[in-house]
Amino acid sequence: MIPELGHFALALAVALACAQGFVALLGARRLDARWMAAGGALALGQFIAVALAFAALVWSSVIDDFSVLNVAENSHSLKPLLYKISGAWGNHEGSILLWCLMLAGCGAAVAGFGRGLPSALRARVIGVLGGCSAGFLLFTLLTSNPLMRLWPPPADGRDMNPLLQDPGLAFHPPLLYAGYVGFAVPFAFAVAALIEGRVDAAWGRWVRPWALASWSLLTGGIALGSWWAYYELGWGGYWFWDPVENASLLPWLTGTALLHSAIVVEKREALKTWTILLAIATFSLSLTGTFLVRSGILNSVHSFASDPTRGVFILGLLVIVIGGSLALFAWRAPSLGATGLFAPVSREGALVLNNIFICSIASVVFTGTLYPLFAELVFGAKLSVGAPFFNATVLPLSVPVLLAMTVGQILPWKRAALGPALLRLWWAALAATAVGVTVALGLRVVLPAIGFAGAVWLVLGSFGEIIERVRLFRVPLSVSRARLAGLSLSVWAAAIAHAGMGVTVAGIAGMALASEKITAVAAGETIAFAGYDWTMEGVRAGTGPNYNERIAPIAVHRNGVFIVRLAPARRAFTTQRMETTETSIHTTGFADLYAVLGEERDGKAILRLHYNFLAPWIWIGALIMSFGGFLSIADRRLRVGAPARGGKAGRTSHAVAAE
């Protein structure tokens, strides 16, 4: 009964989404207040309907209803509860439904939080989101219904891919999808602006929080995925330039560019058409990423069963959504009004530079990811583009971005001089050079030295604007402190997010110094590696709810002092007949001690030990970036200035008075 209710809710959601798109867009065109208001209500209704369908799927999975095909194929009665829940989105059908839920959530969020927006713009945004929802819901209902019944039901399920039975991965897709799909809102704003034929500073201000939220979530989602690959796949790597990783990196890159160009729209009313194009491109890349994975065109660890029929449906959907918006862009954007002029050396000039470099990186990654398909299609050749290509192209393009990031932050708007700005960062440059030279001479390595120097430059330089604003050491300290208290949150947010990038860069540079050792050890044997003594205490057997495992406890000592007991394991999952390696990781904050258990032979176990210098910083940095993004949303300046209604304006002025 519950799955049927979910199925019905899904069908209802399709109808509501169609109505949402139609009523809201037509209402905005006719400037009919009631129709426009109905659009918001329909968006809420659609969200509730999709949420019900999703809840029905999770419920079927939790109570082991194997008469639901999706549950039978992907779950098992012995699977732990967390994975029964997360298993609901760990497969094609469920993940698409989750995608729809997020998209419906975006519409509901605009309806709920967007009350400060002009009603026509709000209705158009909701209408565009409703149209997208209708397409994806229809796709779910017609080709990927997660609530399809199976008769007769099997006695038990086929279980989920053991690699996916992992807490990190339970939350990776929802976060990533929230980021992916969140960019639907800036996209809808862009399409709405094109329909209205008007982009102004207010538009830039309205788009920014949505772009920021999506960007922050996407940052978190990508980081979580990379962390999962790091500890679950057991290769010791953290980024593999896998097509699917690239597919998530692309919207992140263009989304980053969008965040920055929207600032220029807000402050200077320039770069309007470019920002519109970025908003369309970011969501389009999110969609393309989904399409490439779901259709199985790109071979990847992430692809579920590939199905060309579904692929054709998604492709059609994509062509309608992206093609429609780009056609609208080609038609309306030329009349959006000339871009304001500005000097090349200025804050906005620096932001343009940021856009150029980040979009170059995005094009390189895009080319590298799609080239194998192109080669297959045009030359009939099988080839793959791997890490060497991406490292050789992305790294050189990142250096100027990192260098310019900190300088751009302290440049004033409109017109600036580069010399004085650089002079104001002399201390950060000095520290960066000192670190770089020390690492280069001490360890005789070039790339990590550049990386560390860049990291120091970024972390210190990011706070350059704050130091500049409080006029540190140029006025008495008490005055500086008072100025510090008066700084807006967004200044802090920018500094923190940029510094987070520096932390990540440090982690990546540190990982270039990581060392590993593969060795066969007998019980009780001790190995000296990376300044630690690793003693394997003998392999023992264990059992979990749906697997058997071999565990090799390793006591790690440093100079005779006990540090930690690692327990790498190999798990054999009974239902799926698959083995996974469970890495065991101890982090000191500055490095990860990372152990993997390999095969056992002749009474010895093969151990792979890694010493990953600064590895945790990669993800800590991403977390900091994400935090910076959210902090920026919290800045009231993003909300002030929106044509507020009485109550809101009253609150705002009160807040100012309190300061």
């Binding site: 194929e73 369309i280 065109i297 590939s306 060309p308 994509l318 398909l373 297959e376 299609l377």
Partner: protein, 185 residues
Amino acid sequence: MNPVGRRLMFLAPLALLGIGGVGAFTLLKRMAEGDFDPRGVPSMLIDKKVPDFTLAAQSGQAGFSAADLAGAGQPVLVNFFASWCLPCVAEAAQLLALKQRGVALWGIAYKDRDEETARFLKQHGNPFARIGRDAEGKAALEFGVYGVPETYLVDRAGIVRWRWVGALTDVVVARALNPLLKQYA
């Protein structure tokens, strides 16, 4: 820039999408027809002799070896399957239809228990003339099997002519398999 050039510039993203869309559609079409396999590398066995193997028989059936394949006197479809594999269930009807048409189908039960294979055959029908048991997956390793189901076409001389990963669909049979069966009959 003149107004026309400016207009054209704004059309560029749409053109890019058009090219990408046509390319993706072509790939999807070729995927459905069986001449594009995104799983990458084509089988190393194509146009080579079948690797050497001898398989124990599934109870009540005849087993077979590489030599039996070469001496079959007609092209044989070798199908790796397992009772625990859902796509194999989906494929069962297709295989039965091929058997009806007189195509020789020999099955290899991959990493499966004898009684479970028997139950599977009873439930979904047995299209196979012979069934070998590859309990440890050694023969599959020799073939370079990617996963079950997987199907190989072996000609009269015992040479592998074609491989298909995943369940055989109507389109694959019509577009890829039938011409080959005619060619090597």
